[in-house]
Symmetry: C2
Subunit: 292 residues, 2 copies
Amino acid sequence: MIVVDWGTTNCRAFRLANGMIQDRAAGPGILGVPPGGFPDALRSVLAPWLAAGERQVLMSGMVGSRQGWVEAPYLPCPADLATLAAAAVPVPFDGAAVRLLPGLSARDADGVPEVMRGEEVQLFGALSETGPDALVCLPGSHSKWARLRDGRIEGFTTHLSGEAFAALRGHTILGRMMPDAPHDAEGFRRGVDRSGQGGGLLHHLFGVRALGLFGELAEAQAASFLSGLLIGHEVRAAGADQAGGRVHIIGSPLLAALYADAITQCGATPVIPNPDAAATGLVRLAEHVAWT
Amino acid sequence: MIVVDWGTTNCRAFRLANGMIQDRAAGPGILGVPPGGFPDALRSVLAPWLAAGERQVLMSGMVGSRQGWVEAPYLPCPADLATLAAAAVPVPFDGAAVRLLPGLSARDADGVPEVMRGEEVQLFGALSETGPDALVCLPGSHSKWARLRDGRIEGFTTHLSGEAFAALRGHTILGRMMPDAPHDAEGFRRGVDRSGQGGGLLHHLFGVRALGLFGELAEAQAASFLSGLLIGHEVRAAGADQAGGRVHIIGSPLLAALYADAITQCGATPVIPNPDAAATGLVRLAEHVAWT
């Protein structure tokens, strides 16, 4: 059996034997695939394994989005692992049984829609470590905060923090005071601290510039301050500062460490589980897919 | 006597007689002046009036910033009209008495610095219409909210809303769903409404995209929704939704109308005073400057 985590910028494939990862392969993310090029792209990644007789392929991630190969409609929350596996969409491919997992949708407390595609697999992959009831943060350009209950994904919210950081740093006056500089822990800490003060995020953004003008924020600290400010706003808005409990973090080691610092500073306890939650989740989901 | 409102993108000069505007002239903003070119730029704008014997020139705005002609250090709030006029800095210029007004600084409730340069003149210019005790909003790339008490500028806060809108629309995934479209009042209203809901601004930003994905926000409304969302966050953070009272708005007619809509929707009453508050303020300040 083969499982494929196919996102925007990477395609990671795993060959399984007896529910364990036996071999790995990689290819371009969906942004690197030309129109109509998905079958060829998959053939090229899986060629040796297909030649060896593999006939079951489970895929997840943005490959199932409107910009991907076949659109797999979002499955509404709450959703458990078996329901997600059962919603896999068949994709015609060289006579093999290829299945594509949908993403999840939800509604926030005010009825506004939410979507994820790929993160749900990581959440199920980390389930044995987070336990069935948990608050899980998946940091990124579009950070997700998911609530697990009884082993199901109950709901989640998304925050545009990463993309907002890049846009604000790259395309506002704030960027002029931010030379390329290594991460500055003190600047980051001050930004997280600032996020707990009054006046709102848009006011806090101007304050970054004003602190610089008054010599109260060094240029080498400014980008880390902005990062801490945005992540701090996200962590507090997600309720981690009130939860006082554990927040599990699934993400790249660098980003997970940043969020762990912010979460600690906001009074909760970060936990960083299994770093390859996506592969683990796909393996577990593959066991539940109806292959025939 | 001559007064000059010299900002980043425009230089507007007024010749006064008996405290009334008699004539007007215009030139490039400070971004259009080459290094060391300020004396020439001023000569070129004022030439006929100087030739006619004018010898007193009062300037305000970004011309007094670090990027301007001479840096006039910020005057701390609270500040009244006479104190501001007395802080005018002399600038050597062809034997004429040229004075440059400083901007104002303040500290927000958490001690973070604030600056304005030019808006203080508009505030004093609108004083006869706002009255001595008022909450005044000056919308723009960096919106200011000033509190007047007993005719003094007590303090103020700045919000990066305008610049954040441009960066988010131009340089994040949100812009992809925003074709050039005229202002959409219903989209704007929905954005302001959304700003009063839970989850924080960074979550609301992602919601713009999710609403679009689910067909719950038309592309033609999306930019106005984002504008309403940001302005709504600003208006609420500035306390206008709790004040329940009057908010005076000084700004371009288009922007003032937008803010008036948002302020009304948040439960306060917008008032739009004298549209040429800058010239009026300079005239009043010029009367208090020590020319000799």
